[in-house]
């Protein structure tokens, strides 16, 4: 019995019970669809975050208050970025004393209310200095950025992200207009280029004002949220990171590195952490979806067992007219593989639609990779074989005499 013949037989067996075959196939279809969608969400998230972190610049070190290895020391620790112990003087000291540093950007940011005429919104206000543009590779598009003079006098000047402009001003030109941040009037002097999501914040939704103004006039603090350090070359990153750690430890009078009240991280460190997280997420999502695939496989086995029982007399007849064991085995195996493979293909389409839908509705980039397509194919074929072998073997081992007598 050749392959085409057994395919035809399998096809006819399935068509004979259209609804049943479809429902069985649906189990695999949903399973494969779910796996493909989930993996595409995971890969999409991972690639999105990776790109954003890359966008931060590869020669950037971030110093934030709080400890990195909180679980090592006893007692309560503050979470990263929430401490109050990094100061402008720390920042200046880094710029002066650490080798290979080309620019240091001290920053303080906080959420607060912004008002223009009758419109208001709650957004991120970043107190930065003139080097911010250089360190973050994020530049002003229209007008001017904040100057050293603005920093020195604590000027009430603001540079707006693109989203802020469209939210507050619509089509109007905002430069020269006055907005109120926490009821303090600020003159808009520039508009930033569009950068979108970067790291964990959307820079287009930020307003940039002089650091001194942010600390003293708006929020009344004297500490920093972060210090971003630009290092001349990537080779000097480790050296610079160590020097910064040593410098800040001596400035903060800490001798045990585990007790450090700050942490220094490079983009690569963050990338590692994030890809670990998204990798785990992808495996988790895929794993949950794979369970539904397994259930689909059991559905196939169930139906194949029913089919074998139902068609016992047919099996007996086929044997009587000359079918060998392996002909019967091939016929039923072909049916289950046909079912699961067709389910796999439809599931793949469903998964692609699903991930496109999520990309459209959720604004979440999804990637249906070649590997997940292959995975879906191989997996569904394997499920067809795995769950089809037992019923098919049962069919092939039927005694023709008893099978023919079966009522």
């Amino acid at each position: 019995m050749n392959v085409i013949e057994s395919l035809r037989t399998a096809y006819r067996g399935l068509v004979a019970n259209k609804l049943r075959s479809f429902l069985t196939l649906l189990g695999i279809m949903i399973g494969v669809g779910a796996v493909v969608t989930m993996i595409s969400i995971g890969t999409g998230a991972s690639s999105m975050v990776t790109t954003q972190i890359r966008g931060l610049g590869s020669n950037l070190l971030m110093v934030q208050p709080g400890s990195a290895g909180g679980e090592m020391g006893g007692g309560a620790r503050q979470a990263s970025g929430t401490g109050t112990n990094l100061t402008l003087d720390d920042s200046k000291a880094i710029g002066k004393e650490v080798n290979g540093v080309t620019a240091v950007s001290p920053e303080y940011s906080s959420q607060t209310q912004v008002i223009y005429k009758d419109k208001n919104l709650n957004t991120s206000i970043s107190g930065v200095t003139s080097v911010y543009q250089q360190v973050h590779n994020f530049h002003v598009l229209y007008g001017d950025f904040l100057s050293d003079e603005d920093q020195k006098v604590g000027a009430a000047a603001a540079v707006l992200g693109q989203t802020i402009v469209s939210d507050l001003f619509g089509q109007a030109n905002p430069i020269g207009k006055t907005i109120k941040i926490k009821n303090v009037p600020f003159r808009v002097i520039g508009i930033m280029e569009s950068k979108g999501q970067s790291g964990f914040q959307n820079l287009d939704e930020s307003i940039f004002i002089p650091l001194s103004t942010a600390q003293k006039r708006l929020f009344g603090v004297d500490y920093l949220r972060s210090i971003n350090v630009e290092v001349a070359t990537e080779d000097q990153m480790t050296q610079a990171s160590n020097e910064i750690t040593a410098l800040l430890m001596s400035r903060h009078k800490i001798s045990d590195p585990d007790q450090a009240d700050f942490n220094v991280r490079s983009q690569a460190d963050i990338l590692n952490t994030v890809s670990q997280v998204t990798g785990t997420l992808t495996v988790l999502l895929g794993g949950i979806a794979a369970i539904s695939l397994l259930v689909g496989g059991i559905g196939i086995m169930n139906i194949m067992l029913v089919t074998v029982t139902e068609r016992t007399r047919e099996i007996g007849l086929r044997k009587a007219v000359g079918a060998r064991r392996r002909d019967i085995l091939a016929q039923f195996l072909m049916e289950s593989v046909f079912l699961s493979l067709l389910g796999g293909i439809l599931g793949l389409l469903l998964g692609m639609l699903g991930s496109m839908g999520i990309a459209n509705i959720g604004g979440w980039p999804t990637v249906v990779s070649m590997s997940s397509i292959l995975l879906a194919f191989i997996f569904s074929a394997a499920i067809g074989v795995f769950f089809g072998v037992y019923p098919a073997r049962r069919a092939s081992r039927l005694n023709p005499i008893e099978a023919l007598r079966f009522e």
């Binding site: 047919e314 007849l317 007219v321």
Partner: protein, 229 residues
């Protein structure tokens, strides 16, 4: 013993089960069936006629004894070789027709070709001719559920002929038919025999057996009478 006999059965016995539960269904059967013979096997239920049929049909192996079919010793064959013999040498006709549902008469007749290892011929044309020869040329595309019992059995007869077997085995072929349809079916067997086919039928009805030229009567696993008429 004539070496040219199509079927040679010598001291054939069949035991089902083991130990105390063993049942001896056939207790040493010996007979020959010649080419172009028409044999009816009769006997009460439990006489072993079905068992004999299964052995002759190569659906089962004897416990002991010799069975030669068309010059080959069947008792030495394994499962796959038995399947090949069934495919090439034997055409079955069953009491319950055993046609595939939702499958046309033509496709049903062609089914055994699926398992025929060897050069494939134009089965479609041959199958159509066979259906015409049993008077069903107008039923070629119908499914079994659209046919009467007699028509279904005639499709089954056409199916048994598609591989041009040496012997046709019919197990109670009229058991599920009314007497008119039964007579039609037996007339076909009669004609096939006149054309040179070797036919063995099992029946418990005397008037059906009368169509044959030789009646073997089994009782308790042994041949009681074996006579031509």
């Amino acid at each position: 013993m004539d070496a040219k006999s199509l079927i040679e059965v010598e001291n054939l016995s069949k035991v089902y089960g083991e130990g105390d539960a063993a049942v001896e269904a056939l207790k040493g059967i010996s007979m020959n069936i010649e080419q172009s013979d028409f044999v009816a096997i009769m006997g009460p239920s439990g006489s072993g006629k079905s068992t004999l049929m299964h052995l002759i049909g190569c659906l089962d192996q004897a416990t002991s004894g010799h069975y030669g079919l068309a010059g080959r010793s069947v008792e030495t064959l394994d499962d796959d070789e038995l399947a090949d013999i069934r495919s090439h040498e034997i055409g079955f006709v069953f009491q319950q027709f055993n046609l595939l549902p939702r499958t046309s008469s033509l496709e049903n007749v062609m089914l055994p070709l699926t398992y025929l290892r060897g050069p494939s011929t134009d089965g479609r044309k041959h199958a159509a001719e066979l259906l015409r020869s049993v008077g069903l040329e107008h039923r070629i595309k119908n499914w079994p559920n659209e046919l009467s019992g007699g028509e279904q059995q005639r499709v089954a007869i056409a199916r048994s002929l598609i591989n041009d077997p040496s012997i046709i085995l019919a197990d109670e072929p009229t058991g599920a038919l009314d007497s008119k349809a039964g007579d039609e079916v037996m007339a076909i067997f009669k004609r096939l025999n006149e054309e040179g086919r070797t036919i063995v039928i099992i029946t418990h009805e005397r008037y059906i057996a009368e169509y044959s030229s030789r009646i073997i009567y089994l009782k308790d696993g042994r041949i009681e009478t074996d006579e031509r008429h």
